[in-house]
Symmetry: C2
Subunit: 352 residues, 2 copies
DNA sequence: TTGAAAGCGCTAACAA
DNA sequence: TTGTTAGCGCTTTCAA
């Protein structure tokens, strides 16, 4: 690795001298501020290039004085995964305040587009440097996101994206790939067909209206039909991420089909799904794959009831969102590789 | 989330005033520097606690002026995984120089304890704030690490640890758990016993003398014998991470045992292992699990030759090492959760 | 369109 | 044992 500058504590002043201008002018060019003759801009840019000059972030941060404020717009319900994200944000307080960063959490009903949109609109003019939002993909939400961006606030979508908006970044996984991964695991772990019957696979989702759930199911079916066509995927049960409802629907399915060999739980409601599976007495025979590592799924994995959990690292998502907002606010480049959220396969022996 | 301080750009000066001392004294207490009466220390500490004061890192960084230097002591051979780590370090140059951090890579023969120890000793007095080292667990290496630490340099071990040394931190995975994960995957993917023969599993390692390889094998055997006792693990082949040697040894094994159903490649030499497997004509029947995502393993996963790769994220390791060294040098707390390296299971559909 | 100068909050040398 | 003070490298008025 070569450092571009051997031992170059080069400063703005050096650049200013080389370009034959003052500190203030270099600063203007550096931040694309108006009021500099094009010719001067060029001279300064050249000096910067020539020395591959990097302004010292600590100095910049100190000089601007003002603290930065970020808002996290999160679902108000008792979703364990979202609570984990919030708790990891909480663990960052020391880190945040040492950098004069403030993070505020705004709880709202992210499943109601108009409520969510209103919450977002309310942030405009609130003097936020950045907003992270668990977004529902809906026209009014998209409009609100765009309004925020137009107002100069940096916006990242978290966990759930609005690709058609002008949000600056998305922090989350590719849900189609996650569904494919789940499909491959179920297919591989069930093994080749035994006997005459095809072997059936049950799917429980919160709702097919949710973009992430729909995408996961899509990916799942893709893999099963392409590679494990000896398996028959049963119609999706919509449990609304509720334990009881999921349990009842699944119990009914189990009683109807004696040859279920695989089970994919797309969203939450895990408690109910596990209960129905247990009651069926087929815990050990059915391959059960779900999402996210929570207190419950951890227990189920250790017990051997669940075979694998597809997960995204909530701590990573929380930190990545903060870092990305900060980089965007500072106008620094983002380390894409660092901020990319991976699809984790978690089994008993690699539980985090 | 509540911020401990509503809008508290509290500064050292405020603390000084509250404690009735000067800036310098607060600074001394903050950094546990000597020359302050115990009573004064108490008063200052109280003021700090009371306000949950966090010094502004940017200001501190700027004031101390001096750039920090870190050395990364890496294997000199053509190990793709290590090259990935180096390349991710390379991608950080912008980030590093904006913080006035310099990272130097020192290539050495990490497999020769005395050479490695000498390389480490050579760094003492070299004015390094921190050293990251891919360490061989050997008494002379341990001694060199301890010497560095005693000289005031922060030391983190990378990928391979020397637990008995006084290194400040280890950045890498739990290799026993990684081996267990590999074992569980092989066991689960092979499926239940078919027919009369037990089904045999081959293991290819670099050397059982390497701590990480030995630990992986240990974990692997643990799981196979406990949970998949219908599988018979064949004696470990030591391919020294070399393609040709691995290929020859494995080819011989395949010709001797017609009933090999699983293959675990513990280290490198993947090219040779894959070749032997291909030549045996049993690519599709044998469950093949290895380590790390490289150009080659990626291809093998996509082709369906390899079934899973156990991996540790090289980019994460590179960045975590830098961040941890920086935090150690600054005397800041480390975000353990953030710096922990996970054991990733990578299959075709969740390839990063 | 450009420049001069006063800080930002801390560290470290020096003085007391 | 404690305090005073001159910067660190930027940003941001305010003046020219």
């Amino acid at each position: 690795m070569k450092e571009p500058d051997p031992s170059s504590p080069l400063t703005l002043k050096d650049i200013a001298r080389q370009a034959g201008v003052s500190l203030a002018t270099v600063d203007r060019v550096l931040h694309n501020r108006p009021g500099v003759r094009p010719d001067t801009v060029r001279r300064v840019r050249e000096a910067i290039e020539r020395n591959s000059f990097q302004p010292h972030v600590a100095a910049a941060e100190l000089a601007r004085g003002r603290a930065r404020r970020f808002a996290f717009v999160m679902p108000s319900g008792p979703n364990p995964f979202m609570q984990q994200i919030e708790s990891y944000l909480g663990e960052m307080t020391g880190w945040l305040s040492a950098r004069r960063l403030a993070v505020e959490i705004v709880a709202t009903d992210v499943f109601d587009a108009s409520v969510l949109a209103a919450s977002l609109e309310a942030l405009i003019g609130g003097d936020y440097d950045g907003v992270a939002v668990v977004a529902l993909d809906h026209p009014s939400v998209r409009a609100a996101v765009n309004d925020l961006v137009d107002a100069g606030t940096k916006v990242v979508t978290l966990v759930s994206d609005v690709p058609s908006s002008r949000r600056n970044h998305y922090i989350g996984i590719d849900n189609i790939a996650a569904g494919r991964t789940a499909g491959a695991l179920v297919g591989r772990l069930v093994g080749p067909r035994t006997g005459a019957s095809p072997g059936k696979v049950a799917i429980v989702a919160g709702s097919q209206g949710l973009r992430d759930h729909a995408e996961r199911i899509f990916g799942f079916n893709q893999v099963i039909s392409a590679e494990f066509s000896h398996l028959e995927v049963l119609p999706v049960l919509e449990g609304r991420d509720e334990d009881e409802r999921s349990q009842q629907m699944l119990a009914r399915l189990f009683s109807k089909h004696a040859d279920i060999v695989g089970l994919y739980n797309v969203g939450a409601g895990t408690q109910g799904v596990a209960k129905a599976l247990g009651d069926s007495g087929r815990e050990k025979q059915v391959v059960f794959v779900g999402h996210d590592v929570t207190v419950l799924t951890r227990k189920l994995l250790l017990q051997g009831v669940m075979d694998a959990a597809i997960s995204q690292n909530p701590g990573h998502e929380a930190r990545a969102a903060v870092r990305v907002l900060l980089s965007l606010a500072r106008g620094e480049p983002i380390l894409i590789e660092q901020e990319k959220i991976r699809i984790d396969i978690v089994m008993r022996d690699n539980l985090p």
